[in-house]
Structures are given as structure tokens and as C-alpha cells.
Symmetry: C2
Subunit: 118 residues, 2 copies
């Protein structure tokens, strides 16, 4: 898979509130399919499908414990998605620009002398 295809799969997997809730649960620790399905008014096969989408995107992995198939969160793709979004920080984050950064520093620790002007 190319990096672009990774982003396709990652963002598509995150574009569903059920799957985001599953990730939120897995952030607290690994969990079986039955545990993951419990909070939802949805059949077990539906949850298995969501898990397949998440795993295809590389956001989770599967282990084995008797009949159970506990899922575990995997961070790499989330990091890549965050990296992609970081390129657009300037469009919402006031702290982004070098000027703002400088102004913030000046406000926190105003220089006493040797101020340069132009």
C-alpha cells in the first residue's frame, strides 16, 4: 500500500462513530469482540465488519486467546494521519506562525536591551 492508500484507509476507517468508539475503548486496553460489541445496539457480525475495516487500515491488530480474538490498538497509522493534518496547522492554530511564536516569547520574557529594529 502506498502512503496515500494508507491515508485513504485510515481516514475512511475513522469516518464512522462506531469505529471511533471502538478505538476509544481499545485505548483503555485490549478487548474481545464480545466486549467491544456490548455497548452497541448492533449485531455481532456488524461489529466484526467494523473490526475488519479497522484492521485493514492497520489501526488495530488481532491476537488469539482460546476462542477469543482480542483486539489491540496500533498507533502507527494514527501517527501518519496526524502528520498529514499537521501540514495544515496554520489554518486553525493561532500559535502556529513564527511571528506569533516570537510575540508569545516576547510577552513571556520581554528583553531588557539590545532590541533590534529595522
Amino acid at each position: 500500500m502506498t502512503p496515500s492508500q494508507h491515508l485513504d484507509a485510515t481516514f475512511a476507517a475513522l469516518a464512522d462513530s462506531t469505529r471511533r468508539a471502538i478505538l476509544a475503548r481499545l485505548a483503555l486496553g485490549d478487548a474481545s469482540v464480545a466486549e467491544l460489541a456490548k455497548p452497541f445496539a448492533m449485531s455481532q457480525p456488524a461489529i466484526s465488519k467494523h473490526l475488519k475495516v479497522l484492521e485493514h487500515a492497520g489501526l488495530i491488530s488481532t491476537a488469539q486467546d482460546a476462542q477469543r480474538r482480542p483486539r489491540k490498538i496500533e498507533g502507527v497509522r494514527l501517527g501518519e494521519a496526524t502528520d498529514w493534518l499537521a501540514e495544515y496547522r496554520q489554518f486553525w492554530d493561532r500559535r502556529y506562525s513564527a511571528l506569533d511564536e516570537l510575540l508569545g516569547q516576547l510577552q513571556a520574557r520581554p528583553p531588557k536591551s539590545k532590541r533590534k529594529r529595522h
Copy 2:
């Protein structure tokens, strides 16, 4: 739209390489539909559809200039998506944990004495 629906729309809009490329172009400055369509081997109506998806997600807005409908990038939703992802930083970012932070500091400036062991 609820915050969850915003995330649905945002992540779904980002799950397509054409739309991500359009955002990358708009990050360089506002652009008309024709300008946005030029790099793609795709019909103009197809681009208009992608723009509609992006606008529905609140990632871009439309202005008017004669027949032209220049698009502009809007950062708010990108920021919300980043905020959501930030909750999972610990799963990929080594710098996240307080322990790692401390270890990094120790490595940068190793203490000369009073080293504790266990």
C-alpha cells in the same frame, strides 16, 4: 450537526486522495474550480462533486468573482480532527509519556551524582 457528525464528514472527506490534493492546492491560496480541476484526469463535474463533499464537511468555503466560484480552505474542522487524534498520541509518539520525557532530559543532561538505583 453534532461534533460526532462533524468528525464523520471531515474524516470521510479526507479519505480520498483527489480531495486531499485539492486541499493541498488550496493551502497555497484560493483557486477557481477550473484551476483546481486542471491537474486531474477527471471531468469538471467530478471535481465539483468533490468540492461539494469538502464544503459539506466545512473544510472549504465558496466566494464569488463574476462566473468564478473561488474556493478557500477553512481550518476549523481540520483542527477538530487533529484534536480527536491527539487523544491517541501515546500510541505512536515516544515523546508523549512523562517517563519518556524525563528519560530524554536525563539523556540530554546526565546527572553527575545522586543516581538512584533499584
